[in-house]
Point group: C2
Amino acid sequence: MRKRAPARRRNAAATRDAILASARAAFARAGYDGVGVREIAQGAGVTAMLVNRYFGSKEQLFAEVAAATMAIPHILTPEILGARAPGHEIAAALVELTKPGATRLDGFLIMHRSGSSQRAAEIGREQIERHHQRAMRTALRGRLSAQRAALVLSLVAGVQIMRQMIGLSALTDAKPSDLVKMLGPLFQHLVDGERPAGGRSRRRSRDA
Amino acid sequence: MRKRAPARRRNAAATRDAILASARAAFARAGYDGVGVREIAQGAGVTAMLVNRYFGSKEQLFAEVAAATMAIPHILTPEILGARAPGHEIAAALVELTKPGATRLDGFLIMHRSGSSQRAAEIGREQIERHHQRAMRTALRGRLSAQRAALVLSLVAGVQIMRQMIGLSALTDAKPSDLVKMLGPLFQHLVDGERPAGGRSRRRSRDA
DNA sequence: AGCATTAGTCTACGACTGTAGACATGCAAG
DNA sequence: CTTGCATGTCTACAGTCGTAGACTAATGCT
């Protein structure tokens, strides 16, 4: 019978979690190619070989980190998507979560910083399609819902990149409320599709 | 006397250009950390050391490549920004230039793939702010022009990432005309800078 | 012709990479 | 106690990385 003793120094599950947490932070900071297993191990207080012992290889560790981090509901939750003005809610959440130093949006950040690895990009696409796009698409009505969902993700990714990675001063120094005002209608347009929100449900004519 | 490699063309300018071209293609494919100087050199038909002889270091080579590639006018040209329906023009150009295999938009692609290097990101921000954002901002009228310009760049970057890097199937397989129809109003909204001010429906473009 | 300069290559080094195998150690049970 | 296993470390290896220094060969000049 196994004892329910409190976490000791030798605790496989806790060590595994520590490695995962260290890897997540490291990958978000420097990407797949930018960080080594020794550095990840040091962040978890173990040696490099233990990382491979638990996860098989660096690539498998990355895949697990990506899966775990992407699975975290963040901006595109059912609540936000089901709100009365989803565009505004999405914009507000995005602006809030891409403040300098924010870590809740690590999933995308990890992918952005891992663009130098072809394999990492494949893993990222898999996770994005599994979690975010599928969830979003089912929440959207109307034509081309998959495309509109993908464009919502594109806008989220683009804003995060320019704000957190590139660090465009116009976005880092802007008033959050201004950004929300500008982004809200964009998201709303994508959520609504061809029909504008509010009373009128008639299609807008296009001048192509 | 040891036999050396066969005599090559002795043309400094041409060799330099060959290295730059090889580096641009390589960086666009694998990013700063994903490609080595030996590989770049091989692509130009020279040895690795010559790369450093001409450019000092890999980092300086990257900076030069980034500067040269970013300086290429692409989507946000004065003509497009001054068109009657700039949003539609921007969207059409973006969709066209982010087709699989397109290379005219290398500048952004290089930055996206170089996110694992902090230094590369700094160089990229510098170039983006120098070329694109400044040019765009002067073309925009109204309040918060810098922020709106930055958001245009964000949307461009996001679409390119999801379409060319991540390869979201919803975007790669979509009909270009559908994407243009969805993206056009978004860009137009940012260019116009009109204030949503509550549930008011969007104003038509000034051309009518 | 001879010399100087330029264009280019070769060898090598120290640091780092991911990871395989052998080894050590703490914990629970017989 | 001893045994067995899970947990973790140490050493080492075969690469690759960027780059420094010495060397060679082709060109330009006189």
